[in-house]
């Protein structure tokens, strides 16, 4: 699975994001994390193989989420569906 790591000063939390390369909400979320210097890792699901897509969906559903993007997972515990600025800020303390 091809993931991209974005480094940042704000690295207290482990942040994983499932996104779509074509999605404007996903771009906005990536920009928000970048602007706040959050260190995160993202996977553009539409660029993945069928096998990886299946694994990603399984991962999302095992955490009780829906495969709608973007999905932000903080510290393997908190899952945020969609670009919810307030929820992301709260989870990351920014």
């Amino acid at each position: 699975m091809k993931s991209v790591k974005v480094s940042g000063k704000n690295n207290k939390h482990k942040v994983l994001m499932y996104a779509l390369s074509s999605c404007a909400w996903c771009k906005m979320t990536k920009k928000f994390l970048n602007d706040n210097r959050v260190e995160f890792e993202y996977v553009d699901v539409d660029l993945c193989s069928d096998k990886d897509r299946a694994a990603i969906r399984k991962d999302i559903e095992s955490r009780g989420g829906e495969p709608n993007y973007p999905i932000i997972i903080v510290d393997d515990k908190i899952m945020i569906n969609g670009f919810r600025k307030d929820k992301i800020s709260e989870a990351l303390g920014i």
């Binding site: 074509s22 909400w25 069928d50 299946a54 969906r57």
Partner: protein
């Protein structure tokens, strides 16, 4: 060849025809146009940039922009799922735009997923049991709008008539019959 300009002109024309507006945030709007252009280039049709498409038209038909869910979403939430199309209030800045819930039925998503990943070991929709069908096995039917006569050939009738905006209930199946005489 599809260009960003073609995508823009098509969206503008569609908004004019259907009484809705394009997202007033020019940067966000440009991202959406780029997403649509990207999808049209790789799939051959402009599927919603914010939904995961399978690349199989029959499975993605309902999420080809403007998607089947646009009109009810704009009416209820002020914008469609990807927020390309917005209501007059959102366009004029009277209400703010938020990400909205997915209206696409989960069964459609499960079915698309099951077909797209058929053959991948261990890949099955975990929450619901979905019969894996090949896209060639999808049964297409002819539907007509009882209000305006619009005819389409697809698995299910559209959410809303693209011509006269009649609801799905106004669609009936058309069963063509060929009679030979003589």
């Amino acid at each position: 060849m599809i260009t960003l300009e073609k995508v823009r002109l098509r969206a503008e024309a569609d908004a004019r025809t259907n009484g809705c507006y394009l997202n007033p945030d020019s940067g966000f709007l440009n991202d959406l146009f780029e997403g649509l252009e990207q999808n049209e280039e790789r799939y051959g049709y402009p599927s919603c940039p914010c939904r995961l498409a399978t690349g199989k038209f029959e499975l993605d038909r309902d999420i080809v922009c403007p998607c089947d869910y646009r009109d009810p979403d704009v009416k209820e939430y002020g914008c469609c799922y990807c927020a390309l199309y917005v209501s007059k209030d959102v366009f004029e800045g009277k209400t703010t735009m938020q990400p909205i819930p997915e209206r696409r039925p989960k069964e459609k998503l499960d079915k698309a997923y099951a077909v797209a990943t058929a053959g991948v070991a261990g890949a099955k929709a975990p929450e619901t049991t979905v019969a894996v069908t090949k896209s060639s096995q999808i049964k297409l039917k002819m539907w007509y709008c009882k209000q305006c006569g619009y005819v389409c050939f697809r698995e299910e009738p559209p959410y809303i008539c693209p011509i006269c905006k009649a609801k799905r209930e106004m669609f009936a199946e058309l069963q063509p019959r060929i009679e030979a005489q003589g």
